[in-house]
């Protein structure tokens, strides 16, 4: 037992001596949370548009005013001919062009129907459709203003209630996501690299001939990283709680135990990778392509799982991050106890056990 602690101490020295990595390890969650919290949104705000106003009457000018007053759009320039539209789009300067045809007001009051054209740069289809929707709503409101209020017969009024997140904050999505990503990074990537490093430098041989058992070596390598990832997880939770108002409705103890379980799953994956490769470069590429990208993409963190094709949805089931994110959300937002989350917990536990067994079996005590 004493040897084990000495070995753990040696690993801790390694970690603490490398100031730069440590700094980044703690800087990364902070930077990611700040980026996701403040910079990464799909919200539309102050989008530059151009107006081709062929009517030049009071109504077309008022309509342009309403569009800019909304805060969603700013008019970047006025165009004078249809030929000007293509070049501004091609340069990527504006995202939408509103074309008001001649005699706009006249047609509205006398023809009962005034045509209006919205051209959007839909190379980003998502933004394209959102812009059209917003502009449409503003135009509709202006139309009501022009006609005066009319109450329509037979009106169905939908009443909406947003459960769990009434103000539709995105923080509830990215705090669990960032936490999963960082834990995966620290536990899986870092461990796989430290172990392959001993192999690459040739010091693994020295460790293997020492009286330490292989299990002790691995456990000793892994324990400092568990401690580290725990501190990071707590930092993220604290930031989410105090800066973004992310609630923790369930029990904190359960939450931390689940974190521990996920760390174990990630660690066993890291050990598995390190037993498959001999160079740090390969270990890094495998853990990045095989673990981090699926964690980002197939866990429902950035992109919704429901809209993916079936094969990907099925594949997502073997990504541990998916289950961990479900657990995190349920415990933090819905205040679920073990009774509600036993199923994902069991799946995650099963995965951990499986990976641990495979990696212990695969771990070679001989080098060549």
């Amino acid at each position: 037992m004493r040897e084990f602690f000495v070995f753990v101490r040696k690993e801790c020295y390694h970690i603490f001596r490398d100031r730069r990595t440590l700094l980044i390890l703690f800087g990364m969650p902070v930077v990611l949370i700040v980026l996701f919290g403040f910079a990464i949104t799909n919200e539309v705000r102050n989008v530059k548009i151009a107006v081709l106003d062929q009517a030049q009457d009071a109504y077309s000018r008022q309509l342009t005013d309403r569009i800019t007053a909304s805060g969603y759009f700013t008019v970047d320039r006025y165009l004078h001919a249809e030929q000007d539209i293509e070049p501004v789009f091609r340069k990527g300067e504006v995202k939408m062009v509103m074309v008001v045809p001649p005699n706009f007001g006249h047609k509205f009051y006398h023809g009962r129907k005034a045509p209006l054209q919205l051209l959007t740069d839909a190379s980003d289809p998502n933004t394209g459709t959102t812009l059209v929707n917003y502009a449409n709503a503003i135009i509709l409101r202006y139309q009501q203003e022009m006609t005066g209020k009319i109450t329509l017969p037979l009106t169905i009024q939908p009443e909406a209630r947003m459960i769990y997140n009434p103000s539709l904050k995105s923080v509830f999505l990215f705090v669990p996501g960032v936490m999963t990503l960082i834990l995966m990074l620290v536990c899986a990537m870092m461990t796989s690299i430290t172990i392959t490093r001993e192999k690459e430098l040739g010091t693994m041989e020295i460790l293997l001939v020492s009286p330490l058992k292989p299990v002790t070596i691995i456990a000793g390598k892994v324990i400092p990283y568990i401690a580290l990832s725990f501190i990071i997880a707590l930092t993220i939770l604290a930031m989410g709680f105090w800066i973004f108002g992310m609630p923790i409705r369930g029990s904190l103890l359960l939450l931390l135990l689940e974190c521990l379980l996920f760390c174990l799953a990630a660690l066993s994956l890291g050990i598995l990778i390190s037993s498959l490769t001999n160079s740090q470069q390969t270990a890094m590429m495998i853990s990045m392509m095989g673990l981090l990208l699926p964690t980002i993409l197939l866990s429902g963190f950035v992109f919704p799982l429901e809209s993916m094709p079936k094969p990907l949805q099925i594949f997502a089931n073997i990504v541990p991050a998916k289950w961990f994110i479900i657990i995190l959300k349920d415990v933090m937002l819905k205040g679920a106890g073990l009774r509600q989350v036993w199923q994902p917990t069991l799946i995650l536990g099963g995965m951990t056990l499986f990976f641990l067994l495979v990696s212990v079996r695969k771990f070679k005590t001989r080098l060549s």
Binding site: R20, G27, L119, I139, Q143, L154, I156, E306
Partner: protein, 372 residues
């Protein structure tokens, strides 16, 4: 010149000798491209909905059918108890609950107004917003239809209105893959460029072979060029490969001249390789270099406008993207491929990229010492 050639030969031998590196360079990117292109999609479909219909009238059934036939929603359960539906919502089995109250049809006719209730699971805020948007617009359509049927009106009888038509340029079918795949190619090329080159130099440091290289007559620039050029070639090859796969699998549009993409990529890669070199000059271990590179790349990629538009970022973040090489490449590759932009449209960005390449490589070479 001959010296560089020999170093190149040595580097290529080393890259290709490593059995596990080959699939990483050639197979994994294709898999990533295919998986990513399908996964990276903000479109929301197949939302599961519980319908609680207390009315059971013709109109309430029509409303339900209209909702389900839109393609956005699939029925999870039709129940007669609000409590059951709420439990489904709680257990994540349903994303949305539509409750149609009793006497819906009667109220609509007699009082000219009736209410329906939508409960949305809003943990994923943007998804909930979209789900509500879809549902509300479907209910609105249904409302118009009912009104016209009941009052026997038709479109032209209505009051004055603005007739809005819209056209989606450059992507009329709103195919999200046309937008994402070029961006994903940028990420793949970036990973090869920045990661592998930096780690490759640090590896020589860590194993100690850099000392052997230092005592040889190889000049500093020979060594640097020899180390970076293989990854420049591999990354450009990767880009060509990815574009071919994209064309074959997703029939990506190639509106502009693809040569501009390659020309831009060639300079862009210089920036990324230079970044890898720069990081390798002040790190000692591969773990360190990998970690620092990862840190910068994730910021670059998240802030590049790849997943979320740059225009939606706050002003300070938009300023930051001006020094982000990934943002420029993502913008240019999309402009050329989707809009057919030519030299006149991209020359400004090209200039910036050249400047960045010069600065980054200058600092890196200046910082690189042939002594230990």
């Amino acid at each position: 010149m001959r010296t560089i050639f020999f170093i190149l030969q040595k580097e290529f031998l080393q890259v290709f000798r490593n059995r596990s590196m080959l699939p990483i360079i050639f197979v994994v990117p294709v898999v990533q491209l295919l998986v990513l292109a399908f996964a990276a999609n903000y479109e929301i479909r197949n939302l599961s909905v519980d319908v609680v219909d207390y009315d059971g009238s013709t109109w309430s059934r029509q409303l339900r059918d209209k909702l389900l036939s839109s393609g956005y929603f699939t029925l999870h359960r039709q129940s007669y108890s609000h409590k059951e539906a709420f439990e489904d919502l709680e257990a994540n089995r349903a994303d949305l609950v539509l409750t149609i109250p009793a006497h819906f049809e009667r109220d609509l006719v007699r009082e000219n107004e009736a209410k329906v209730q939508l409960l949305v699971n809003a943990i994923n805020g943007s998804k909930a917003g979209l789900a509500y948007g879809y549902a509300a617009s479907i209910i609105g359509q249904f409302n118009r239809q009912v009104r016209m049927d009941w009052l026997a009106l038709d479109e032209d009888d209505g009051p004055e209105h603005i007739d809005v038509t819209y056209r989606y340029w450059y992507n009329p079918t709103l195919n999200y893959k046309f937008f994402m795949v070029p961006g994903i190619l940028v990420v793949l090329v970036t990973l090869i460029g920045a990661f592998l080159s930096g780690m490759n130099i640090v590896k020589e440091k860590e194993i100690g072979t850099i000392e052997q290289l230092n005592v040889t007559p190889i000049r500093k620039h020979h060594f640097i060029i020899g180390k970076l050029l293989p990854f420049w070639i591999i990354a450009l090859f990767e880009l060509a490969f990815g574009l071919t796969v994209g064309k074959l699998v997703f029939s990506l549009p190639f509106e502009g001249n693809i040569a501009w993409v390659f020309l831009f990529a060639a300079v862009y890669l210089l920036v990324m390789l230079g970044l890898g070199l720069l990081i390798s000059t002040f790190t000692e271990t591969q773990q360190q270099s990998m970690f620092i590179t990862w840190f910068f790349l994730i910021i670059f990629i998240l802030m590049s406008g790849l997943f979320t538009p740059i225009e939606s970022m706050p002003a300070w973040a938009q300023k930051l993207t001006l020094i982000n090489p990934v943002a420029y490449f993502v913008k240019v590759i999309r402009m050329v491929m989707q809009k057919g932009s030519g030299w006149a449209d991209i020359q400004h960005y090209f200039g910036i990229m050249l400047l960045m390449a010069a600065v980054v490589n200058g600092v890196a070479v200046w910082n690189y010492r042939k002594t230990v």
